[in-house]
Symmetry: C2
DNA sequence: TGTACATCAGTGAACGCGCGTTCACTGATGTAC
DNA sequence: TGTACATCAGTGAACGCGCGTTCACTGATGTAC
């Protein structure tokens, strides 16, 4: 805690960061201990000085990916709001951007991993479930004050589902059409402030 | 083709059916050749008389799961429409039912596998992408005639996303709340016929 | 109808490979005096 | 300040296991005559 972080702590952080990127890129099932250690600049033998098991690493990776995704999201939203976008528009355009379509490894881990969640360990599932709740809360804060909790849930489902379907269709015209459709649909329904240059 | 299906054809069908259930239950990565053959009542050695590779089986399984999910969906919708539900209500209540929350192995393969799609072989991805387009078309047929393609895409994303988030939250009150929220949100917006007993 | 043979679906042992995990060891960092 | 020792992070070989794939063989089905 005191002074500069020790060598081990720095290694630990590199491992978790590498794992957080790897799960979003390859899925839980596609991530191996040796790959992650290599990406962190280490050899696989030292892994068990950092985690009791591969599964514990996945849990830490999901937790880190959640924070990472949320903070990148907040930054992207702030930039758009500084340019005059409403909070909802900033959220929708940040979440459903073409950049996120192409770069899942730095995006929202829920979109990258949702359908694998039911098959994970209780430890991983618990962290993932609280991330889902966190995303619903974040969405709710961008909605009109009179919108109920159920609207925030539905909009969250819309965001996550649209990004996944877009990725399933591919990083091409069809995938981009899916993103555009979801952006338009959500904003048409809930963006009371209209577009910045609407007329 | 003529007469009763041969022994081999019957075995092939059993293998594909077992695989179609397995991928929805365990994900692509969780499905092994030996497991599927066992579930089909065979031993693993005979597999390569039916498929050139595990990946070819996954493609056939995705295709079959798509047809299976769509036909179960059509049946569930028909029952609800016979009871007086509008097409959209029948679709939304069938897709976002608590039965589907608990039984992913007989449900929509897109909801069960969406986030794994970008990591599959071109063969599998192509079949999956056409299933996504098919679901969008099916949704569009339940929407008011003046609703654009983008509305059908957004509603599809909402359906798929809500089921996945519900499953990520768990087969419990939180998961069911996610389904209910999405059902209400979609019907509030697009169901012009109102509830059957609305007043 | 019955026998001999060919075909063919399925069996189960085996192979090679990759993965999670373990462990004896190395080399560097830090501490005692 | 310098030397001797202890601690500790990381290395790399090894183990066991499961998986996709191959293959020689078996037993059943179908055909020829």
């Amino acid at each position: 805690m005191a002074g500069p972080a020790s060598r081990k702590v720095l290694s630990h952080e590199r491992i978790v960061e590498a794992a957080a990127r790897a799960i979003r890129r390859e899925g839980y099932a596609g991530v191996g201990v040796a790959d992650v250690m290599k990406e962190a600049g280490l050899t696989h033998g030292g892994f068990y000085a950092h985690f009791p098991s591969r599964d514990a690493m996945l849990a830490a990776a999901m937790d880190h990916a959640g924070r990472d995704g949320a903070s990148r999201m907040a930054q992207a939203m702030a930039r758009r709001q500084a340019e005059g976008a409403s909070p909802l528009r900033a959220m929708v355009e940040s979440y459903l951007s073409e950049k996120m379509l192409a770069n899942c490894e730095i995006g929202c881990p829920i979109a990258a991993l949702a359908s694998e969640m039911p098959r994970q360990s209780p430890q991983v599932r618990e962290i993932a479930a609280s991330r889902v709740q966190g995303l619903v809360r974040a969405v709710r804060q961008t909605l009109p004050a009179d919108a109920g909790e159920h609207v925030a849930m539905a909009v969250t489902a819309n965001l996550v589902g649209a990004m996944q379907l877009a990725r399933a269709l591919g990083d091409n015209a069809e995938g981009r059409a899916m993103l555009a459709a979801a952006r338009k649909s959500i904003l048409d329904q809930y963006d009371t402030e209209g577009t910045p240059a609407s007329h």
